[in-house]
């Protein structure tokens, strides 16, 4: 084992992590630990764009953007955070341009902007062109540009270092009203070097979590194989809460079976959805706007068709996205990417045949709770000094119960930057927190446990069972029965997880071992998601309970906070305590969400 | 680095094989040139010795060798022109494949012309 000392340690080198590193690297001694080479992070997969009210092509302002964000999130958005994000969006885009990001340009040479779902002028009057973009590779360009600037500023990367534990200490402390509580402080992290199998402990004054999403909880997902929610799960295991985990966004049009995303733009250009009878089924669910209804409505309609036996394909488990009535030239010029994906991955020629699609798990609205300064909260309002989080792993919460397209790339830039600055500033005045004795003990035991286990269960079997269960029971439709079923399966998988074995016992590039550990993270999160979903007996944004189909502001206009607590029992699950946290309102009162 | 023994040959496309050809022919021509200057240098030493050496060039076997050499020179020369076009002509990289076919066609034609004439002289007049 080796010990390294840094002022700031950043976990994750996606958009959020690298944006933080650029700020922090110039102010304090910074290390970035990442399980992937930075340019492999999933931020690179984002296509659509990044919103900011630049008003380059038409009138716009950040207040409208704030409103759209809040309304899009079905009023579960913390409005102070949404204001910060919309206000700082403009600088976030300009910063990226100055760093060299090659945005598409208007004829005058300014950054071009285009329309995107849910972004409107003057509180919903009409669609507005707010998304800045670089062809259909906006995320790729952001990721590359940020990495380039990290190279410029000589940021120290530890590539293929898996962070497996967060080191924190607890101190007795007293609130203003005199009540005692345990104050957590961050001491560092423990990481596993993939190439050598050695453990490295990083002692740091500030730790920034930016480890991205957790889409692999589901089977059908637009997320990468490596998005296993490590950061969320590590925080949860360390006794920190997770906020709003029941809210997961399902994007309607993922390539069936694969989950690869086909942008919303397809339907914008006139593509329509059909079931196995060739029916344009959206006519039944949203008679006026049909296929262009909001993401959650379309996704539910698709799932319903399949559920009622009108799915297509050998297993009747998907519907069709029909572009065959459109002009080939038009598709080719507007949607080159999705036509290429359909051709490459499904062998379907979209000009002549409809493309199999199904909702795909896309984005975790919830995560590690933070305030607008990206400081992680250990309860509703106590920050953990030195611990920060940004990006998909965090929940500030700017997305509430449903994220608007293009707001995530914005989120990672705005709050990534804030996290980098805050972490560096904090490290200037803070002292190192003493490492606990044997800081690596937990991880060593965990690894030894997996390596020496010679049980009969195979990691891949457990994982696919988990993912299938989640797809079947915790996807766009949920009700008490399905959630309980998922809960039972997860409980069973947890038991079976104790009996796994891996074949690779070596130290070098032991991905077999890491997949086993990642499965542990997934099981944790699946459980939290399911319990939180059971707990929220209403429908809001991405969370739709068939047994409670309406929004219930009276009882549920609040964030959910899941804690790990050995004593507690929630919804028959031992070890999870559910609490709530009020939503921050500044000026927009909840209204019915109608477009 | 035996442990990293390299596995199969890389199955490149036309561009790679033409480069292999260009390199091999280049070396062959170079080696031939070294010898050729040495033998030609005999004209400075003894006319008979020179004629003796040249007469070996006139045997059928050597004639075949000469033919091979010319084949190599022709390929190297035409492909060299292609490479120059790739480097200097704006559309060069786009049409490199087509140009390679051009090189091969040109090569076949010119080489056939040469071979007929040369071999008929070499084999015919003795």
């Amino acid at each position: 084992m080796q010990v390294h000392k840094y002022d700031v340690v950043i976990v994750g080198a996606g958009g959020a992590g690298m944006r933080a590193a650029i700020e922090s690297g110039q102010r304090a001694r910074t290390a970035v630990l990442t399980k992937l080479y930075p340019t492999r992070s999933h931020t690179g997969a984002a296509q659509g764009g990044m919103c900011a009210a630049l008003a380059n092509v038409e009138e716009d302002n950040w207040e409208w953007h704030t409103f759209d964000t809040i309304k899009g999130g079905d009023y579960l958005v913390d409005q102070d955070a949404a204001e910060v994000m919309a206000k700082e969006a403009i600088d976030a885009v300009l910063d990226l341009e100055k760093m060299g990001l090659p945005f598409n340009r208007t004829p005058e040479g300014k950054i071009d902007q285009r329309r995107f779902g849910g972004h409107t002028r003057d509180h919903g009057k009409a669609a507005v062109r707010r998304a800045c973009y670089a062809a259909d590779r906006t995320g790729h360009m952001i990721l590359q540009t940020l990495y380039q600037n990290c190279v410029k500023h000589n940021v120290e990367f530890y590539n293929e270092y898996y962070v497996l534990d967060l080191l924190m200490v607890e101190e007795d402390a007293y609130r203003e009203d005199g009540t005692a509580y345990k104050q957590k402080r961050v001491a560092g992290v423990v990481s596993y070097d993939l190439a050598t199998g050695e453990l490295h402990v990083f002692q740091a004054k500030s730790v920034v979590f930016a480890s991205g999403g957790a889409g692999k909880v589901f089977k059908t997902t637009s997320n990468a194989h490596t998005l296993t929610g490590d950061g969320m799960s590590i925080a949860f295991r360390s006794g920190l809460p997770l906020e709003d985990m029941e809210f997961f966004q399902f994007h309607p049009t993922g390539l069936a079976g694969l989950g690869i995303l086909l942008t919303e733009g397809a339907r914008g250009e006139g593509a329509i959805l059909r079931n196995s009878d060739g029916e344009r089924f959206m006519e039944r669910y949203a008679p006026t706007i049909k296929d262009l209804a909001p993401r959650d409505i379309v996704a539910r309609a698709m799932a319903n068709e399949v559920r009622e036996g009108r799915g297509c394909g050998p297993n009747k488990d998907y519907v069709l996205l029909d572009l065959t009535h459109l002009e080939p030239e038009h598709i080719e010029s507007k949607l080159p990417d999705i036509t290429e994906f359909a051709r490459t991955y499904l062998g379907v020629e979209p000009f002549t045949d409809p493309v199999p699609v199904y909702p795909t798990a896309h984005y975790a609205m919830g995560g590690v709770p933070t305030n607008i300064n990206t400081e992680v909260l250990q309860d509703n309002d106590t920050v953990v000094p030195g611990l920060f989080a940004a990006g998909e792993v965090a929940c500030v919460s700017v997305h509430g119960s449903n994220r608007l397209g293009t707001n995530s790339l914005l989120d990672i830039n705005v709050f990534g930057k804030r996290a980098g600055v805050a972490a560096a500033e904090y490290s200037k005045t803070a002292d190192f927190v003493e490492l606990p004795e044997n800081p690596e003990a937990f991880v060593t035991a965990q690894i030894e446990g997996v390596l020496s286990g010679n049980g009969t269960e195979r990691v891949s079997d457990l994982r696919s069972t988990l993912q299938e269960t989640m797809d079947a029971n915790v996807q766009v439709f949920r009700d008490e029965r399905s959630l309980k079923e998922a809960r039972d399966v997860i409980e069973d998988l947890r038991r079976r997880y104790k009996n796994i074995s891996v074949q690779d016992k070596g130290k070098r590039f032991n991905l077999d071992l890491l997949e086993a550990i990642e499965l542990g993270f997934l099981l944790d999160l699946a459980e939290v998601i399911t319990v939180a979903a059971l707990h929220r007996k209403e429908s809001r944004g991405g969370h739709y309970r068939e047994d409670f189909p309406n929004r219930d502001d009276e009882n549920f206009m609040k964030h959910s906070m899941s804690y790990r607590d050995a004593e507690a029992v929630t919804e028959d699950i031992k070890g999870i305590r559910m609490e709530t946290k009020p939503v921050v309102f500044t000026r927009y009162q909840p209204m019915e969400r109608k477009y | 680095m035996s442990k990293t023994s390299s596995g199969t040959l890389y199955r490149g496309h036309e561009g790679m094989w033409s480069w292999v050809g260009h390199r091999v022919t280049g070396v062959v021509i170079f080696l031939y040139l070294l010898v050729h200057v040495l033998d030609t240098a005999m004209v400075r030493v003894d006319a008979n010795a020179y004629d003796a050496i040249i007469s070996t060039y006139q045997t059928p076997w050597m004639a075949l060798g000469e033919t091979g050499l010319v084949a190599a020179i022709l390929f190297h020369a035409f492909n060299g022109l292609r490479l120059i076009l790739v480097d200097f002509w704006k559309q060069g990289t786009k049409y490199q494949r087509q140009m390679l076919w051009g090189v091969l066609i040109l090569w076949v034609i010119v080489f056939a012309g040469f071979a007929i004439r040369h071999l008929s002289i070499a084999f015919g007049s003795h």
């Binding site: 690179g44 340009r105 590779r137 059909r274 994906f341 409809p354 | 596995g7």
Partner: protein
Amino acid sequence: MSTELPEPASKIELKPGVGGGGEIPSFDITLRVRRYLPEATADAYWEDFKLTMYGTDRVLDALHKVKWEQDGTLSFRRSCAHGVCGSDAMRINGRNRLACKTLLKDLDTSKPITVEAIKGLPLEKDLIVDMEPFFQSYREIMPFLISKGHEPTKERYQSAEDRERFDDTTKCILCAACTSSCPVFWTDGQYFGPAAIVNAHRFIFDSRDDAGDMRLEILNDKEGVWRCRTTFNCSEACPRGIQVTKAIAEVKQAILSRTV
């Protein structure tokens, strides 16, 4: 939407087979993987795996199937699984491709499908190579925008044509398929390699950048652009369809016209 589209039929006849039912077509393949387990054997060796795969499966799926069902020690990098992250460049049937973008049915499945690590970088385990030398070359060409003078308060302007000038080379995902397909790089590891040149090109031809000369100077090295023998392997290998050799030619021209 402003343009009036003809309202599509609310119900159409689907072609047979599209609507549902029936078997998923499957086929058997042999995956011949170049294994190298440094902790077990000194040498690399071939190992065959027999698999039943489906029409939409890619080489990556076959590798996963081996790893998850037959041999957990098989090691390879992957992440996005749809050709945008650049993790899984490997030599498939002798040519560099991304495993996640290569459909099995497009390969000849009557023969074993060979899968090996990319060439020219130190092999670490099975299909995993050490990427550090590759990224080192990338970092050396100063892959970031350098502009002199005052920072504008708003964005710098750039015409659509100027933006188009370097569009092709912005697509690079640093997968190393190009560099590890280059015959020069295989034998001369010091060659900067096509990927580094592509990324230099991206900045040299960006109208906002002022450090083109420095990058040209870096590449006017004995291990720089002049090492390229225009073998085009890089262009053929690039999964993003970047015209790599063309970019290299443009950099050569730029160095020439700058010095001559």
